[in-house]
């Protein structure tokens, strides 16, 4: 029996057989992963849309305000603010009035 197979000539395989096998393997795994990734991304997107707070909401909640206040305080922004009391400008007003003689009419 062995001689039958010994006589049987096996033709040379295509020169690019190895390359074809290796190349065929590369994309198969990507296609395996792609649908899983796509489904996961879609699920994540849907979850985010559902859980997203209403963007039309205009009023800031108290917690947001508390956070903002804390933010300002921790950097001491409010400490540098100085409130300057303006000096009264009565003299200028009087001079302005005098030059046109408005004050003369005041009895």
């Amino acid at each position: 029996m062995k001689d039958i197979y010994e006589k049987l000539e096996v033709p040379e395989p295509s020169a690019d057989l190895e390359e074809r096998i290796i190349a065929a393997a590369a994309p198969t795994k990507k296609t395996h992963f792609f649908p899983k990734l796509a489904v996961a991304a879609a699920c994540l997107l849907i979850t985010l849309i559902i859980l997203q707070p209403n963007s039309q909401q205009s009023e800031l909640s108290e917690s947001y305000l508390a956070e903002i206040a804390f933010f300002d305080d921790q950097y001491g922004f409010t400490d540098n603010i100085k409130f300057i009391e303006p000096e009264p400008q009565f003299e200028d007003i009087e001079f302005f009035d005098d030059q046109y003689g408005f004050a003369d009419d005041i009895s």
């Binding site: 029996m1 197979y5 033709p11 395989p13 190895e18």
Partner: protein
């Protein structure tokens, strides 16, 4: 990486190691192409079978169980089963020899044609059994394991195939 055993390389496939896969392909594709060809007797079909077998192990390396069998024994099984199950087996014999076109090698061609015709007359399963046991000289127990049958069934395949081939060749 080149000095790693087949079993080590297959284990690396679980982590999608393309380099390990390339080494396995370069190490075994030619050998298993010959095995597949001796069963299907067609160059294109044998190439497709080898490609399918390698893609199978690339996609599902967990199919090979480390403790059960050596990689080569297991891969024999994959290739032989694909070759036996190939749907194109009913197609007429197509000789893929360049010598077929050359008139001065007509005698060789005729001999090959006779061999092909003789082998084509017996079923793939018998052909695979004869090839494994008589040509590859694999032990009967291992050949039975490769073909996924019992030892008695293998003996039966060998006996029927041998008888049929001898009748044709005479």
């Amino acid at each position: 990486m080149l000095e790693k055993s087949d079993e080590e390389l297959v284990e690396m496939l679980a982590a999608q190691n393309g380099q390990a896969f390339a080494i396995l392909v370069k190490r075994h594709s030619r050998y298993f192409y010959n095995v597949a060809y001796r069963i299907v007797l067609s160059k294109e079909t044998a190439e497709d079978i080898v490609q399918k077998a390698f893609l199978k192990i690339w996609e599902k390396p967990q199919l090979w169980k480390a403790g059960k069998a050596k990689f080569k024994t297991w891969f024999y099984r994959v290739v032989c089963n694909l070759a036996i199950d190939d749907k194109r087996r009913l197609q007429p014999v197509n000789l893929d020899f360049d010598v077929a076109q050359e008139e001065n090698e007509e005698t060789d061609f005729k001999e090959q044609e006779v061999l092909h015709s003789a082998l084509k007359t017996i079923p793939e399963r018998q052909r695979a059994a004869i090839m494994l046991v008589y040509f590859e000289e694999i032990k009967q127990t291992e050949a039975a394991e490769i073909l996924g049958i019992g030892i008695k069934a293998l003996e039966s395949l060998l006996s029927r195939g041998k008888k049929q081939l001898q009748e044709i060749m005479q």
